[in-house]
């Protein structure tokens, strides 16, 4: 379809509708197509685990730092995983400096829910000595470029970074009761599942498009994010208001989420394999 460039600034919704009528989008993608996804694992040497994910232009980097902490009294055999999503002004002009805005807080809460619901890491695995010492994993996700679909990028970055984390062996010296860290003996975390997020945007109450860009999110009448693991179990169905969806449309989303989960897992396994070969 021939749509003039001035269409996008004067009447963006009409411009988009002309493309959607032909079942495609201005960047040439089909309605069910994801943008090019690239992942770079282990790039930050000062972090215990890191990953950089690019979904088209949207770029999120995740760094994981492991520190010691005392387990809480009501869960003495559990460690902690503390995610934090930062959307700094550098990623988009919609964000200002200062305390985290609503979007950052909601995304942080979403990532915390995904970690909790999917049981990606059992908190018991992070315990070193019950009641005395446990690991706390601080997962910091920073968006470097915001072009829509931040939830998918953050979930993928978190998963990849956690797969990259190596924790040193810790023994408690019985005489001094101090922890002794053996930096030469490191082991990977036990990642139990691979939750992958697939986001959709609802247009005009009827059309569902996958992996919306920033512009598409702005024009959409609703969004939906499905987080699925490899056993076909859902750990999150996040639909924060917006236009209504029927059960049948939800079913289509589920099938797309299953395909996406396999694609992402394959990509991550390839990258990890190529890293281990080096």
């Amino acid at each position: 379809p021939s749509a003039g460039v001035k269409g996008i600034t004067v009447e963006p919704l009409e411009y988009y509708r002309r493309f959607l009528k032909e079942n495609c989008r201005p960047d040439g993608r089909e309605l069910g197509e994801f943008r090019t996804t690239t992942v770079n694992i282990g790039s930050i040497s000062t972090a215990d685990g890191s990953a950089l994910v690019k979904l088209g232009n949207t770029t999120v980097i995740c760094g994981v730092k492991a520190e010691f902490a005392t387990p809480s009294t009501d869960a003495p055999a559990k460690g902690y995983i503390v995610p934090n999503v930062d959307l700094p002004p550098l990623c988009s002009s919609r964000f200002r400096t200062g305390p985290p805005g609503e979007e950052a807080q909601v995304t942080s809460q979403f990532i915390a829910d995904v970690i909790e619901n999917s049981q990606i890491i059992k908190k018991e695995d992070l315990c070193i000595s019950p009641g005395k010492l446990a690991w706390v994993l601080y997962c910091d996700l920073i968006c470097l470029d915001y072009d829509g679909n931040i939830l998918d990028a953050c979930t993928f970055a978190l998963l990849a970074a956690l797969k990259n984390v190596q924790l040193p062996e810790v023994t408690i010296n019985e005489e001094t009761a101090l922890a002794e860290v053996n930096l030469k003996k490191k082991s990977y975390l036990n990642i139990r599942t691979n939750p992958v997020a697939t986001s959709f945007a609802v247009f005009d109450d009827t059309l569902l498009i996958v992996d919306p860009t920033g512009e598409e999110e702005h024009l959409a009448t609703g969004t939906l994010t499905v987080v699925m693991n490899e056993h076909g179990k859902l750990c999150c169905l996040h639909k924060p208001g917006g236009s209504g969806l029927t059960g049948a449309k939800l079913q289509d989303c589920m099938s797309r989420a299953v395909t996406r989960q396999k694609e992402v897992k394959k990509l991550m396994d390839e990258v990890i394999k190529s890293m281990n070969q080096k």
Binding site: E102, Q105, V106, Q109, F110, D113, E116, N117, S118, Q119, T221, G222, N229, G232, K233, L234, C235, C236, L237, H238, K239, P240, G241, G242, S243, G244, L245, T246, G247, L250, Q251, M254
Partner: protein
């Protein structure tokens, strides 16, 4: 139009709400509503059904934004304040119902009414509608849906825990059936209110 949410959570524990009987033919707990009980705001409602967090506020706000006809009131701010009186489980669903009734009481034009329903899946895979706080804690998964009154489409959903695709469809169908009871309740309570005056 800007919908601003502030959810204060002063919880007053009410005994007896856990053991209240479930209505006949419906697995939702007993619910009641009182409208127009505060004089200062334009509209108010107290919904008793068996958030202080930003995430919950956003869910409620986005659900309201989807149904309120904001284009009829440009340069207007609608503030919805939800005060938790007591929490006996299914809090988010109760908040959604209260928000909807308050918007109706205020006379805000909406394209549909909405209601909130919570489903819990226990470890055996049994479906529990409108779980109590204890049932929610023990459940394997808790799903909260907001459904519209026109076609029972899914407006909002938030879930906790792991569940399968088939279980999701099952919960959604149960929630859609239960929402009919809530919408009938809305209609009856509004009829009662306006027939008195």
């Amino acid at each position: 139009m800007e919908v601003v949410m502030r959810a204060d959570a002063k919880v007053r524990v009410e005994s007896g709400t856990e053991s209240s009987p479930r209505g006949p033919g419906c697995s939702l707990r007993h619910f009641a509503c009182e409208q127009n009980l505060l004089s200062r705001p334009d509209g108010s409602a107290s919904f008793l059904q068996g958030v202080a967090e930003k995430s919950q506020e956003r869910l409620i706000r986005n659900t309201c934004e989807a149904v309120v006809l904001g284009a009829l009131h440009p340069r207007t701010s609608i503030t919805v304040v939800l005060q938790v009186v007591s929490d006996a489980g299914s809090l988010l669903a109760c908040c959604l119902n209260a928000a909807c009734m308050a918007l109706v009481d205020a006379g805000v034009p909406m394209r549909a009414l909405f209601c909130g329903v919570t489903c819990a899946l226990d470890s055996d895979g049994n479906l529990l509608l409108d779980p109590t706080a204890k049932q929610e804690k023990k459940a394997r998964a808790v799903l909260t849906f907001a459904l519209d009154s026109v076609e029972q489409k899914l407006l909002m959903s938030t879930t906790k825990g792991l569940y399968s695709d088939a279980e999701l469809q099952q919960c959604l169908a149960a929630a859609q059936a239960a929402s009919q009871h809530i919408f009938r309740f809305y209609r009856e309570s509004l009829q009662r209110r306006y027939s008195k005056s």
